[in-house]
């Protein structure tokens, strides 16, 4: 499932004195089975961009094509699009409302008009995929811990079997262990279920470890777009935008300045370790 954005612009509060250009001429192509990280400062337009991808916000100008079809066509099936492009909002646990976890996860597929059996099968599968303990399936979602609630909320979107899954700051407010669990889960889903995953974040460390493409946004525009190691080459420019490269990047540059022949493009701790050991002649 490919998504193409053609010169998409969006104006907030059009016609009022508070008019803000939230997106400016965004052109973008998202292919199958990608793992993309969208990073940017608060107010850079990253959340606005993600809400365009499943038609929750309509662009002021420009077009979006999903599998070659313009989603702004009058006869386009928005409901189908929302099933195909799943969007998990920031703090998704705030959207839970049913009496049991299982019922809440059923909400999405039920809205897709599936029969009861398929709905329940999907819910079960989704909860299983996010690693939610079976004995808690019928407990109230309001009694769970923060991390568990978030799993339920993600399962609620997964149960719709989207081909593209967008997550807005999925680890905000979670402890480091919970954070790693969520990221590992996403990586697993991308590889095993062949999904495209788009991750909105402002933590470079997280993004560098998992994604294979980074889109950097600033003031409603795409500033950089490429593989992590290519993007982090511009770490000085990133700093100017109020962002930062992973700490590994800084370490490697410092080592290079002190005449140790390491690979300055290493983006993860693992890569850095190998490169340093190599430079020291240990391996």
């Amino acid at each position: 499932m490919s998504i193409i954005l053609d010169k998409v612009s969006y104006l907030y509060g059009q016609g009022t004195s508070y008019e803000i250009m939230a997106l400016k001429d965004i052109s973008l192509k998202i292919d199958d089975n990608e793992f993309i990280g969208i990073i940017g400062h608060t107010g850079s337009g990253k959340s606005t961009l993600t809400q365009h991808l499943n038609g929750l916000i309509k662009a002021t100008s420009g077009h979006i094509y999903v599998d070659g079809e313009d989603i702004y066509d009058d006869d386009y099936d928005m409901k189908k699009l929302r099933g195909n492009v799943g969007l998990v909002f920031q703090y998704p646990e705030h959207q839970l409302f049913e009496t049991t976890v299982f019922d809440d996860v059923c909400f999405g597929p039920k809205n897709q008009g599936l029969d009861k059996k398929t709905v329940e099968l999907r819910a079960f599968e989704a909860l299983y995929n996010v690693g939610f303990p079976e004995e808690l399936f019928y407990s109230s979602p309001f009694e769970l811990s923060g991390g568990q609630k978030r799993r339920v909320a993600i399962a609620g979107v997964l149960a719709m079997k989207p081909k593209v899954l967008i997550l807005d700051e999925p680890t905000a407010g979670l402890d480091p262990a919970g954070r790693d669990e969520i990221f590992d889960l996403l990586k697993k889903m991308q590889q095993e279920l062949n999904m495209t995953i788009i991750l909105v974040s402002h933590s470079m460390e997280d993004v560098a470890n998992y994604v294979n493409r980074i889109i950097v946004m600033d003031k409603g525009q795409i500033m950089l777009d490429g593989k992590p190691r290519e993007v982090f080459k511009y770490y000085r420019e990133l700093e100017k935008m109020g962002l930062a490269a992973p700490q590994v990047t800084y370490l490697m540059h410092e080592l290079r300045e002190r005449n140790l022949d390491v690979d300055v493009d290493a983006t993860t701790v693992e890569e850095a370790k190998i490169s340093i050991l190599k430079a020291l002649g240990e391996i």
Partner: protein, 271 residues
Amino acid sequence: MIRDITIGQYYPMDSIIHKLDPRVKLFATLIYIIALFSCKGIVGLIVITFFLATAVKLSKIPFLYITKGLKTIVMLLLVTTIFNLFLTPGKVTFWHYGILKITDVGITNAVVMTVRLIYLIIGTSLMSLTTTPNQLTDGLEKSLSPLSKIHVPVHAIAMMMSIALRFIPILVEETDKIMKAQMARGADFESGNIIKRAKNMIPLLVPLMVSAFRRADELAMAMEARCYTATEGRSKMKPLHYEKRDKIAYVIIISFLVIVVAAGIVIPYPQ
């Protein structure tokens, strides 16, 4: 839609009206409403128009922005006008069909009622546009403080009001967010009959309630952590003081009421 309501929205500007003490503005609004509904006669209406126009002019708020509040009462205005116009008995009947008739009194009533309602909305909008919610509740608390002698919890009421006002924009934003999140899960808030629509609201209302309670709980905790109590002896960071301009404003407001009432007695409507 929700954003169109101008009552309760502050419009920052540097004007004499903005600077007035909130107690003066509350008092002026009260007097203005009394004048508006006790006024009898064309002269009184002209005086009120002049008073309102001056206040709007002095506030420096674009007139079109103030009238945005009228959008919400268009239906009410239409109904009032139509009822008054067609259903009032009078001395001279210009036209009639069944129980519907247009009379001289009907026309006068329709015009006066419509003008009154429009002026009422513009006047009260003007007050809320030039006064921050905090000032407003401060003013209210101070004006009602004599009631605390008879054990009315004036401070607690004022605090509740300011918190409620403060939370309106937050809850509007929250509603928007949850609505989008449920729409992303295929929820439909727009189609279906009234029962189905009400049922569809559950996925919106339950999380909204939960979040309102959570926020209230967190706020109460934060207030307690700062040792807040609603007991006597609380001091204010910015206590209200009357300035010279406030005293002048009081004089103007009182004379305004006197003129309107006097005009009604001397020159009533042509009957």
